[in-house]
Each structure stands twice: as C-alpha cells, then as structure tokens.
C-alpha cells in the first residue's frame, strides 16, 4: 500500500507544484491504538518522535510521498492546535490550514493543508456528528510557503528591490510571519497589502509587498521639477524684469515729462529773459545815447567830436540789434501780434526806397520798385512789420551788392503762375539760344543789365506780367475781376539783387538766427545774422512763406508771399482821399515818353509816372522818342500834346547823336505854338562833367536822381512844369519827430490821467508835436468832456485810475458813442455828425508796463491801441499813425 501511494503521489507531484509532499493519516481512536500499532508494527509517535501519550484519537501518517517519508508514523494530532485543525477539518468537511510552522524536513516555514477522508458516503446534508463519525482519515499536504511564494511570486520575489512578507493574521494581535524576514528594514512608506486566500475560511493571510530599499529618488521627476522650477524662475524673472522695465520706463517718462516742462519753462524763461534783458539794456543805452547827444551839443574839438560821433553810431547800432533781439524774443514768446490796419503798400515801399537811396546812390547801384497795378491801393495788414520785412531784405541786398541793381517787385501771387508758364514758353520757343546770345553780349534783360539769380524778373517774363496787366485792365473796365470780390489778397514780393550771392553751403542755414554765410572773424560784412530769421518769422506771421534763389557772384532773389485783407469800400474811399493828398493830382492826364533801352527799368519808371496819373509811352531809343515827338508836332493836336520826355542816362550816352537830334528837334519845334516837351534826365549817379554835357545836350530842365519815386518825380515835375505850386511833402526830409509833428499838428487831444505829473509830462510831449492838449484828472471828468458832440481827435487814457479805471471809462465812452451813432442812423443828421460820419474817438491806453501790457484787454473794452508810458517817440508814432494822416509839411 505504501509503495503504491508513494509511487502515485510521486507521479502526480507535477500536478501539485505547490505542495512539497502529501501524506495520508488514518483516524485512530484510542481504543483501537493497540490493534493499530500491532498491525503496522510501530508505535504512534508525536511530532517530537517520541511515543505518543494517550489521547482520544490519533492521526498517524500511514502513507506518505517519498519527499516527506520522514513523517510516517507521526501523529498529526500531537500538537494541540494541529489537533483542533484536523478535527475541524473532519467536522466541516473542508480543507483546513494549520498555522505556519517549521517543516520537519526542510526547516522551511510551511503550512499543512488537511482534507478529511470519509469512509462511506455521507448524506446530502451531513451533520457535524455524522461527518466526524464517517471520518476515516486525513489527507495532508505541506505547503512550503517559502518555496510557494518564491514559485508564485517568482517574478516579484526575484526582484531584489521588492520585499514580500506573508503573514498569517488569523490572530489579529499576533501576526505570524510565513514568508520573509520579520524585521527587515524597508521602505515603510510604500507598501502594498493584499489578502491571500488559500481556501481555508478560518485562517487569514496577508501579503505585504514593499520596496527592499528606500525608494530610489526619481531623477526624472527631480529633473522635471528642477527644470520646471528653473522655468518658473526664468518666467518669474522675465516678468519681474518686465515689471521693473515698465516701472523704469514710467519713471523715465515722468522724468522726461518733467524735463520737458522744465525745458519749456526754460524756453519761456529764455524769451522772458531776452525780453527783460534787452529792455534793461535799452534803458541805460538810451541814457548813453542821450548823454552822447548832450556831449555832441557841447563845444568839442574835432577829434573829440569824432570819438563821440563814433560812440553814438555804435550805440545806435547796438540799440538796433537789441530791438531785433527783442523782436525775436517777442516772436518766440508769442507776444508779437500783427495789426490789421489799412495801409498803402506803395508808399511804404517808397519810404523804404528813400531810406536806402543814399547808400545805393553812393555805391552806384540802381534801386527800383515796381508794384503791379492789380495790387489794391490799400490793403489791410501790419504796415510796420511789412516795412520791417522789406527793410531787412533791401538792407541785406544793399549791404551785399556793389554793382548792378536791387529790384523790389510786388504783384498778386496768382500772377506768378501765368508768368511761370510764359517762362516755360519762352524756353520752348528757342529761349535757350536767345539766352546764349544774351550772355555772350554780357547784357541780361534785367533791370540794370546784370545777370540775376532768378530769371523771373528779367524782361522775358516781366513783359507777360505787364501785358497781362494791360489786358486785364481793359477787361476790368467792363466787368469786375473775380479776385477782387474775395476777402484776402495774397501778394508776392520779390527782392532781387546782383550782389555777391549766398555760398551754396550756407544756403540752408540762411534763416537760422545768428547764422551768417561767413561767420569768420575776418569777414567783410558786419551784422548779427538775426535779421533774416526775424523776417522769416514775420512772413510766417503774415501767413506767407519766404524763399530765395541765389547764385554766388551772380546775386540773390528773395521772394515771399504775404496775405493781406482787402479794404472795405467805405474805408477805402475814406483813406483814398488822404492818400491822394500824398501824391499830387495835378499831373493827371499829362503825356510822357520814357526813353530807356532796358524794358524792365522803363516799366518801373512808367509805373511811377502812372501813379501820378500820367499817360506814359515807352521808347527804346532817343530816335524813337524823337520820331514820336515829331509825329506829335505834325499832328498839331493840343489833345495829344507831349509834355515830358524822360531819358535814361544810359540810353542818352549810348546814342549821343540822338541827343543832338533831340536838340535839333527842340529848335525845329520852337516855332510852333505849343509848349515844348520838357527834357528830364534819369540817372543813378552822375558826374559834374556829365551834368554839364547833359545840360548842353538839352536836358536843361532837371535831372531826376534815382531811385525813382513817385513823390520825388512829382516834386521834380512841379519844379519843371511850374504846376501845383504848393510844396509837397519831401518825405526824405522828414525825421521821426517831424513826422510825428505832421501827424499830431493841431489835433485836439484829451489826456486822462489821475497823476498830475504824468498828465503834465504827457501833455508836454504831445504839445511838443503841435497838438492841442486838454487834460482830465479822472475817468469821470473825461466822460464829461467827451459828451457828444465834442471836438477831440483822440484821447490818451491812463489805465490805472482810482474810482473809474481806463477800461471802464472807455467802455462808457464807447457806449455813449454807439447811442449817438444810432441816433444819426435814425435820421436826425445834424451838420456835426455829417462831418464826422460816425462817432468814434480813438482811445489809446497809456501804460507803464509794455511787456505785460494786456493789449487784448485794451481792445476788448474798445480801445484802439496803447502807448508805453513814459512816451517814446517811435512808440507814440506807431500808435498815432493809425489814426491820423500826415498833414503836408507846408501847413506846419
């Protein structure tokens, strides 16, 4: 039997890989022990291989697999616990596990799985007692847990890193280790617990897996974390940097803003400083000049006088400079305001011309002005500033020109376009070879025959302008020009000279202040270089722009445009009356011939004569004029009688025989009844010898020295023709105070000032210029005196007065006047108001504070201007000139 069992179990062992071996123990009750022992021939032994003590029941192993043959005859029930287990197995009929113990053979920890074997068939639902009774024996198999786990979890257990412990946890307080070391250090942090079920519901097992060593630090995780950290750091840094940058930029911005504010403040301060300082310099300079004037009055030796005069000239130059700087500062500070008053452009140009006539004559430079007929006689604008611009430009030209001419031309800006077209036309029509011809002859068709930088003023284009004018003039008789209806008129003024020109490198900084073409210390020409920059500012203030064309050694042409307002018809006729006072009307209808080889110059002369109302023809040579004269004589008509022949000196010299024939002509015509035409020579400069010769040739009447000006021509003609006996205002004789005198003479002026001293001084100053002055010591008194009708021509009003200040007084006066005017308009026209037309007495504010003068406020309350207190001649003149027209000198 034993052999069979052993062989069978050995052969089927592969089916039970987990069992180290199986054995069969028979159930032997004590009563049958002896019989059993006898039968088998051995005694029942306990596990300790001692003869078994007496018990109720035994379970000695009778068959065993060879691997566990050493347990044969051992009583499986010898241990108390084993016994219970086995009995439990018998009772339940299910497999039962023992608690782990050291297996006898291998000393491995193991458990024994016990199955009951029943003798006979059991009923379907056997009771415990029936089962126990039927139990024949027990089949046990030993699980070698270690090898079991190693087999089962070979994968896991083989991994050195993982520690597997299997516990028997039937007794929850005392875990029995079945596999693995009890106290092995391991990573207690990560452990996995899982239940094991070996099929015995009574015993519970747990398997705990954990890492053998502490979990190795994860490099990837660390690196990732580190990288993440680094990225975070970088991003943070970037954000921080950005924030810092923003803050910095903001700070910078604020700083810049502050700097900008400071720079602006500095700029304002600079202008203010300039204004103040120049003002402050002006004050002592006036003292110096005044003292020099006093000094020059004393008896001085000629050397002393020379010194003093030099000092005076220098002082005057300095004052001029300071005034320019002051102008510039005012412009920069935005304090310069343009006036809008009607003025006569032509007379201003004449004035400027007369200013430079002496200088240009000494240099032998021709100076001429031409104003297009289409330019309105009176325009609205700032005459002072216009004069300043022209003076600056012409002054520059005079300074830099040694030969040739300086030509100021004014025409409407719209005209420049057809002119440009005309120019292009001449170029197309073989203008180029004509140019060659002209240049080879060294005669250009300009005013003086010298080449000019800008050809627009040469006759080629100029004649179009003149011709255009003629046609327009004829056309305008029938229909008014469209342009004249518009409010504004834009004038184009060009100042042409044949001077040294501007070096090309210096041309782009001509308009910069204090920049000069030649700023070296050894330069030929003086000056500060501020003039042109001021001119530019002024032109821009007038709503125009300035440009220039310049060719070194040929000349420069400065042109600027400026917008002026047209005069209203009413004021136009008003001012026109006074204007014609300026130029005598006694030459209306006189006939004249201008003999001049140079058409541009002839046109200029013609322009001046036409202003006197004369009918002018131009002849290019004396012969032509003579023939015209002859025709005149033969026709014998008194209607077409020729009155004057004006001959340009150059033409006369070039055609001397013509001059002789002219003399002949004179003789020939002597017999006729009608008056001989007067012969007048035009010359820039003339030597005594030439003068003698001219007289001999028949120019006995007079010689007009250039520059030609209408008023001067008028004076000469008066002398020659003996008409208009009243002496005309020789403008070049006037100096400032005389002009003022002419303005203020016999004007009734009211001076309102609460300060007795001021009143007395103002009255004295005005009386000196011939005005009849009355005084009022308060605004109220002034109001009383100015009750309409009154005879005052103007009122000078102090601003700061107690009780009623200047502004208030002016407001009331204006109110009074407007009421009076309404009454006039209402129909009650008396003789007085008819004379005046409209009540409006010019009121000028007197203020001690010029720089801060609230000019606006003055205007707002109805004043017409202001003068600084104490009076300065120039200032007074500027203010007064707006209202009064000069009375002819003869009346003074």
């Amino acid at each position: 039997m034993q052999e069979t069992f052993a062989e069978y179990t050995a052969r089927t062992a592969f089916e039970r890989p987990l069992l180290s071996g199986v054995a069969y123990a028979e159930r032997v009750v004590h009563s049958k022990r002896e019989e059993f022992e006898r039968q088998h021939g051995w005694t029942i032994k306990t596990m300790q291989r001692e003869p078994s003590p007496i018990r109720d029941e035994y379970a000695p192993v009778i068959f065993s697999q060879e691997t566990v043959s050493y347990i044969e005859s051992l009583d499986m029930m010898s241990g108390e616990e084993d016994r219970e287990n086995i009995l439990r197995a018998g009772a339940s009929g299910k497999a039962v596990l023992t608690r782990p113990f050291r297996l006898l053979g291998s000393h491995h920890l193991g458990v024994v799985l016990t199955f009951p074997v029943y003798k006979s068939k059991l009923p379907l639902r056997p009771t415990v007692a029936e089962r126990i009774g039927a139990t024949a024996g027990y089949l046990g198999g030993a699980f070698d847990v270690e090898s079991l786990v190693e087999n089962l979890l070979g994968q896991l257990a083989g991994n050195q890193a993982i520690l597997v412990n299997v516990y028997d946890v039937t007794n929850s307080s005392d875990h029995l280790i079945m596999y693995g070391h009890q106290n092995q250090d391991g990573d207690l942090a990560f452990l996995h617990e899982s239940k094991l079920d070996f099929g015995d519901p009574f015993r519970k097992h747990t398997m705990i897996c954990r890492y053998h060593q502490k979990a190795p630090t994860s490099w990837t995780a660390l690196t990732t974390a580190f990288l993440f950290f680094v990225i975070c750091l970088l991003v943070g840094y970037i954000l921080y940097g950005a924030a810092i940058h923003i803050v910095k930029v903001e700070d910078d911005f604020h700083e810049m803003q502050e700097l900008k504010v400071r720079a602006e403040a500095a700029d304002v301060a600079k202008s203010q400083f300039l204004a103040t300082v120049s003002h402050e310099i002006r004050t002592p300079m006036n003292g110096i000049l005044g003292m020099l004037a006093l000094l020059l009055d004393t008896d001085l030796s000629s050397t002393q006088r020379d010194y003093a005069q030099t000092a005076q000239v220098c002082g005057k130059a300095l004052i001029t400079l300071i005034n320019e700087v002051l102008d510039r500062a005012k412009i920069e500070a935005g304090k310069l305001e343009m006036e809008t008053v009607p003025f006569d452009l032509r007379s201003i140009l004449d004035d400027v011309l007369s200013l430079f006539s002496e200088k240009s004559r000494n240099k032998g430079v021709e100076l001429a002005v031409f104003v297009s007929d289409k330019v309105p006689e009176m325009v609205m604008g700032d005459p002072g500033r216009f004069r300043q611009i022209i003076t600056n430009l012409v002054g520059n030209s005079v300074k830099f020109t040694e030969r040739g001419h300086i030509f100021v031309k004014v025409h409407l800006a719209e005209n420049s376009k057809p002119m440009a077209e005309a120019k292009a036309e001449t170029c197309l029509n073989g203008g180029s070879d004509e140019g060659v011809l002209v240049s080879s002859a060294h005669q250009f068709k300009t005013l003086s025959g010298y080449e000019a930088a800008d050809e627009r003023n040469s006759w080629d284009s100029f004649k179009y302008l003149v011709a255009d004018e003629e046609s327009r003039y004829n056309a305008s008789i029938n229909m008014p020009l469209a342009g004249e209806t518009s409010q504004n008129v834009t004038l184009m003024v060009s100042v042409e000279d044949t001077g040294i020109g501007i070096p090309l490198i210096a041309q782009d900084r001509v308009f910069m202040p204090f920049m000069q073409a030649d700023s070296s210390t050894s330069r030929n020409y003086g000056g500060t270089g501020i003039g042109l920059s001021i001119t530019k500012c002024l032109v821009e203030l007038m709503g125009g722009h300035i440009s220039f064309v310049s060719r070194p050694q040929v000349g420069s042409t400065f042109s600027f445009t400026a917008a002026f307002g047209r005069c209203k018809k009413a004021s136009f006729s008003d001012t026109k009356k006074s204007n014609t006072e300026d130029l005598p009307s006694s030459f209306q209808g006189l006939k004249a011939i201008v003999v001049d080889g140079k058409p541009v110059r002839a046109a200029v002369t013609r322009y001046h004569l036409k202003r006197l109302g004369m009918l002018v023809e131009v002849g290019s040579s004396v012969k032509m004029a003579a023939s015209a004269c002859g025709k005149n004589g033969s026709s014998c008509g008194t209607k077409n009688q020729l009155d004057v022949i004006l001959v340009e000196k150059d033409s006369w010299l070039s055609g001397e025989d013509g001059g002789l024939s002219l003399g002949m002509l004179d003789l020939k015509q002597n017999g006729h009844v009608f008056k001989l035409p007067k012969m007048i020579l035009l010359a820039t400069n003339i030597t005594n010898a030439e003068l003698e010769k001219a007289k001999a040739a028949g120019f006995s009447d007079t010689t007009i020295m250039k520059p030609v000006r209408a008023s001067m021509v008028a004076a000469c003609l008066q002398q020659v023709l003996g008409i208009g006996q009243k002496r005309q205002a020789g403008k070049d004789m006037l100096n400032g105070s005389l002009v003022l005198r002419s303005l203020l003479y016999r004007k009734k002026i009211l001076v309102v000032d609460d300060n007795m001293v001021n009143r007395r001084v103002a009255a004295g100053a005005l009386k000196k210029f011939g005005a009849a002055v009355e005084c009022a010591d308060s605004g109220k008194a002034a109001l009383k005196l100015l009750q309409i009708p009154h005879y005052f021509d103007a009122c000078f009003m102090d601003i700061q007065m107690p009780e009623m200040d200047g502004f208030e007084a002016t407001r009331r006066i204006r109110k009074m006047e407007s009421q009076a005017n309404e009454q006039i308009n209402g129909g009650s026209m008396d003789e007085e108001s008819a004379r005046k037309g409209k009540w409006h007495v010019p009121i000028l504010a007197m203020t001690a504070d010029v720089i801060h003068a609230t000019y606006d406020e003055c205007l707002k309350c109805g004043m017409d201007g202001y003068v600084s207190k104490p009076f300065e001649e120039e200032n007074l003149y500027q203010a007064v000139a707006k209202f009064f027209k000069a009375k002819p000198m003869s009346e003074l």
């Binding site: 003292g287 003292m291 006093l294 000032d753 300060n755 007795m756 001293v757 001690a848 207190k869």
Partner: protein, 156 residues
C-alpha cells in the same frame, strides 16, 4: 569871462547829470523831459518837477501817517498811493525812487507792515537825495542861464 563861466557851469551840469545817471537816481526819461522843454515852455522841467515834489510830499505824508496809525489796515489805499508815486516817478525819470516804491508796493501787497516801514524809511531817504540833487541841478542851471545871459537853449 561870463562865457567861460557858462561853459564851466555847463560842464558842471553835465557832470552832475552823468553822476545822477551813473548812480541810477535818474534815467533817460529825464532827458526826454528836458527835450520837451523849448521856447514855448521854457520852464517845463522845473514846473513838472515842482509838481512832482508837491505831490510826492503829500503822498509821503499820507503814507507815513497811515503806517503810523496803530490800527492801520487799509493796504489797498496805500497801494493806490504807491501806484501814483510810481507813475509820477517814472514820468520824471526818478529811477531809484521808483524802484523803492515798487519794493514798497510789493511789501504792501503782502500786508508786511515791517517791510512797509522799512521801505518807507528808504523811500524818504531816496526822495531826500533826489530832491537835493535836483535842486542842485536847477541851481546850476539857473547860474548857467545867468552866466550865459541867454535863454535856456534846447538840449537836443
């Protein structure tokens, strides 16, 4: 002899004027004033200056009495007085007096009584100097006129 004397006096006069200019007591306005004097108004300058003295003394009296008043508070009125003073001083070209007046007005604008008192004292001092110098000037003028035995010529 007389003519030489006149020349000397004229030199004196010019010297004194130069001194006054240099010291800043007078400015160019005084010259303008002199220019206003001609045959038609031979005493124009002295006339104006006398008005000035008369008015100024009145103003100074007013200023002093109002500042001496313990309960004084009417700075506006004082400002009006000072404006008058400034106006008339600049009209005759009394530059230093004018400057002191401007400072006085500034103090008055700030209701600075101590400053006003200081300025008043300075003003009286300056006014004294001006008056003395102008008297001196007129005296020399008169002597010169006597010496020259002619009408006062136009200084132009």
């Amino acid at each position: 002899m007389l003519g030489l004397d006149a020349d000397r006096l004229r030199a004196d006069l010019n010297r004194l004027l130069a001194f006054l200019f240099h010291q800043g007591i007078l400015d160019e306005q005084y010259l303008q004033l002199q220019q206003l004097q001609d045959e038609s108004s031979p005493n124009f300058v002295s006339e104006v200056v006398n008005i000035y003295f008369h008015e100024s003394e009145k103003l100074l009296r007013n200023l002093r009495s109002s500042l001496m008043d313990r309960e004084f508070s009417d700075y506006d009125k004082m400002g009006i007085h000072l404006n008058q003073f400034i106006g008339s001083s600049s009209s005759i070209g009394a530059k230093r007096v004018r400057n002191v007046c401007v400072a006085f007005r500034a103090a008055s604008d700030q209701y600075n009584r101590a400053g006003c008192l200081r300025a008043l004292e300075l003003l009286e001092h300056e006014y004294c100097i001006l008056k003395n110098k102008l008297h001196e000037l007129f005296q020399i003028e008169q002597q010169r006129l006597l010496a020259a035995g002619v009408r006062y010529p136009m200084l132009n």
